[in-house]
C-alpha cells in the first residue's frame, strides 16, 4: 500500500467493506425512498416530461440542442443596424 492508514485500528479490507456497505445502503435504500417523496417525485416527473437533463455538463449532453428560439427575433433586436 502506498498511502498511510488514517484509522489504524480497523484493517484496510474491513474499512473498504464498511464504506461500500454505507454507499450501497445510500444508493439502494435511502435514495430510492427519497425519490418516492412527493416533492422529489414531482420534480423528477417534471424533468422527465420536459426532456431536461439536469446532469448535463455541457449543452451537447442535453436532450434538445438549445438552438436560437423561433420567437426571439420578434422579442429582441439581435443585431442593431443603427437605423
Amino acid at each position: 500500500m502506498t498511502r498511510p492508514s488514517g484509522i489504524p485500528t480497523i484493517p484496510p479490507g474491513l474499512r473498504l467493506a464498511l464504506a461500500t456497505a454505507i454507499l450501497a445502503a445510500v444508493w439502494l435504500v435511502v435514495l430510492p425512498s427519497i425519490g418516492r417523496h412527493p416533492a422529489v417525485a414531482r420534480h423528477v416527473r417534471l424533468m422527465e416530461a420536459c426532456d431536461a437533463n439536469p446532469s448535463a455538463m455541457v449543452y451537447t449532453e442535453l436532450e434538445r440542442l438549445p438552438l436560437r428560439p423561433a420567437w426571439i427575433e420578434r422579442h429582441l433586436v439581435l443585431w442593431p443596424t443603427g437605423n
Binding site: 498511502r3 479490507g13 473498504l16 439536469p54 455538463m57 449543452y59 434538445r64 438549445p66 443585431w79 442593431p80
Partner: protein, 476 residues
C-alpha cells in the same frame, strides 16, 4: 506517477501533452470520417430530418448507464418514452465505452514510450470504477438534482484510496491528467465558436462582458485581498463559478496546472451551490416578478452547470406556464460553454507568461519562457474547436456532420475520459494538503462573494440587454 513506479520500462516517447493531442485529434477525425462515410442519401441538409445531426455508426460503440430509480439493472436498458414496452439494451455499448478508455490509456502509454502491459490490468479496473461512478450518478434523485458524475468518480477514488490504498500494480494506470487532457482535446469539437452568436448582441454582451469581469475580479480578490496562498485554486474557483461549472473548472484547472485537491474542492463547491441555486432561483424570479426572458437569461448567466440551467428554466417555465425562460436560459448557457476554449487559452498564456515565471531562473525572453511552460495540449483543444467550428459554419450538411459526430461519439467519449480521470484523481487525492486552506473557510467565502457579484452583474446586464436596450419596441 507511472514513470516513478519502477514497473514501466523507460523508453523514448512523446510528452504527455503531445500524446493527448495525437489521440484526441485522431478520435475527432475518426468520428468525422465515420459520419461522412454514412452520410444520408436524402435530406442531408435538413435540420428537421436530423435534429441531432447525421447518425454516426460509432454511436453503437459507446454509451453510459441510463437513469434508474430503484434497481441499478434499470440502468442497462433504454426505455422508449412513447412506448414503455419497447426497451433497448445498452450493456454492450457501456462495456465498449469502458473498452475505449482502456484502449486510449494503452495508446497513450505506447506513445509515451512506456510499457503497455504494465498499464492494462489497472486500466481495466479504472474503467470499471468509472462505470460504477456513472451508475451512481444515474440514480434519478442524484441525476435530476444535478449531482454530476465527477463528484461520484472522485468519491469512488477517495473511498478506495483512503481505505485499502493504491497497489503498486495500479500505479502505472493512474494517468488521470493524461485522460483529462485527451478528453479536453476531444471536447474541443463541442466548443463551436459560431454558437457564440446564437443570441446576437444581447447574448454576447451578457456572456462576454459579465463572465470575464466576474472571473478576473474574483481571482484578484482571492489572491490579493483574501490572501489565499494558491493562485491556481483561486483561478479554478473563479472559472467554475463564472463560466460554466465543472467543464470550465476542468479546462482552466488543466491550463493553470491546478492540484488534484484544488480541482476536487472547486468542483464540490460548484455542484453544491448549483443544486441550491437551481431550486431557489426560479421561485425567487417569480416572487420578484422579474420579466421571464430576463429571468431566463439571468439563470443562464449565473447557475454553473448547463443541465441545472435547463432544469431551473423548466421549473420557472412551469410556474409561469411559459416555455421561453428555459429556451433563453439554455441558449445563454450554451454561449458560455462556447467560451471555455478562449478562457482556457487565455489562462494558459497568463499562467505560462506571468504566474509560473521563475524570477531566479535564467534570463530568457518572455515569449520563449512562456512557450516552454505553456500546456501544449491546449493547442489541441483549440485546434479541434477551430476545425469543427469551421466545418460547422461551412455548410448545413457539414453542420449536421459535426453535430452527429459530437452527439453520437465525441461527447460520450469525453464523458468517459473525464469520469475515469476523476476516479484517478480521487485515488491520488490527499485532502490533508488542503486542510489549512479549507479550515480557514476562505475558498467558500471566495465562491460566495464571487457568486454574489455574478448574480448582481448578470441580473443588471440581462435587464439591460434582454429587458430594455435590445427589446423590440424599447422598454417593457
Amino acid at each position: 506517477m507511472a514513470a516513478d513506479s519502477g514497473v514501466v520500462l523507460p523508453r523514448r516517447g512523446f510528452h504527455e501533452d503531445i500524446a493527448a493531442i495525437v489521440i484526441g485529434v485522431a478520435l475527432v477525425a475518426l468520428a468525422l470520417a465515420i459520419g461522412w462515410s454514412g452520410r444520408p442519401a436524402e435530406d442531408a441538409a435538413s435540420r428537421k430530418a436530423f435534429p441531432k445531426g447525421w447518425p454516426n455508426r460509432l454511436a453503437a460503440t459507446i454509451d453510459k448507464p441510463q437513469t434508474w430509480s430503484d434497481a441499478p439493472k434499470q440502468a442497462l436498458v433504454v426505455v422508449d418514452k412513447k412506448d414503455p414496452t419497447k426497451v433497448k439494451p445498452v450493456a454492450i455499448p457501456i462495456l465498449l465505452g469502458m473498452a475505449w478508455v482502456v484502449g486510449i490509456l494503452a495508446a497513450g502509454t505506447l506513445l509515451r514510450g512506456q510499457s503497455v502491459a504494465a498499464v492494462l490490468p489497472g486500466a481495466c479496473l479504472l474503467a470499471l470504477l468509472g462505470g460504477l461512478a456513472y451508475l451512481m450518478a444515474a440514480q434519478k434523485v442524484i441525476n435530476y438534482y444535478n449531482l454530476e458524475y465527477p463528484l461520484w468518480a472522485l468519491l469512488v477514488g477517495l473511498v478506495i484510496g483512503n481505505t485499502i490504498g493504491v497497489g503498486k500494480w495500479l500505479e502505472p494506470a493512474l494517468q488521470g491528467e493524461f485522460l483529462i487532457k485527451a478528453g479536453l482535446v476531444v471536447f474541443g469539437a463541442e466548443v463551436l465558436f459560431s454558437r457564440l452568436l446564437e443570441l446576437g448582441l444581447p447574448g454576447l454582451l451578457t456572456s462576454w462582458v459579465v463572465t470575464p469581469i466576474v472571473l478576473v475580479v474574483t481571482y484578484l480578490f482571492g489572491v490579493h485581498w483574501m490572501k489565499i496562498p494558491s493562485k491556481s485554486l483561486c483561478m479554478v474557483i473563479s472559472a467554475d463559478m463564472s463560466v460554466c461549472g465543472v467543464s470550465a473548472a476542468i479546462a482552466t484547472g488543466a491550463a493553470c496546472k491546478a492540484k488534484k485537491e484544488e480541482l476536487s474542492l472547486a468542483i464540490g463547491l460548484s455542484l453544491l451551490f448549483t443544486v441550491a441555486m437551481m431550486v431557489v432561483m426560479p421561485p425567487f424570479i417569480r416572487w420578484a416578478e422579474i420579466d421571464p426572458i430576463v429571468g431566463g437569461a439571468w439563470l443562464g448567466g449565473t447557475i454553473d452547470a448547463t443541465g441545472a440551467v435547463v432544469a431551473a428554466g423548466e421549473m420557472l417555465g412551469k410556474e409561469l406556464d411559459d416555455k421561453r425562460p428555459a429556451e433563453v436560459a439554455a441558449t445563454v448557457k450554451m454561449i458560455q460553454n462556447s467560451m471555455i476554449g478562449i478562457i482556457a487559452f487565455a489562462v494558459a498564456v497568463y499562467w505560462a507568461g506571468w504566474v509560473d515565471r521563475d524570477a531566479a531562473g535564467p534570463k530568457t525572453s518572455l515569449v520563449s519562457e512562456a512557450w516552454r511552460r505553456f500546456p501544449k495540449f491546449i493547442l489541441g483543444f483549440i485546434g479541434t474547436s477551430i476545425v469543427c467550428s469551421a466545418l460547422f459554419t461551412a455548410s448545413p450538411e457539414l453542420a449536421l456532420l459535426v453535430d452527429g459526430a459530437i452527439q453520437g461519439f465525441t461527447s460520450r467519449l469525453r464523458g468517459w475520459l473525464f469520469c475515469v480521470g476523476f476516479v484517478c484523481m480521487g485515488l491520488q487525492t490527499i485532502f490533508r494538503e488542503l486542510a489549512p486552506t479549507l479550515a480557514s473557510g476562505r475558498p467558500l467565502i471566495l465562491y460566495c462573494l464571487g457568486q454574489a457579484l455574478n448574480l448582481a452583474l448578470s441580473l443588471a446586464m440581462a435587464s439591460l440587454t434582454f429587458g430594455w436596450l435590445f427589446r423590440q419596441g424599447g422598454s417593457p
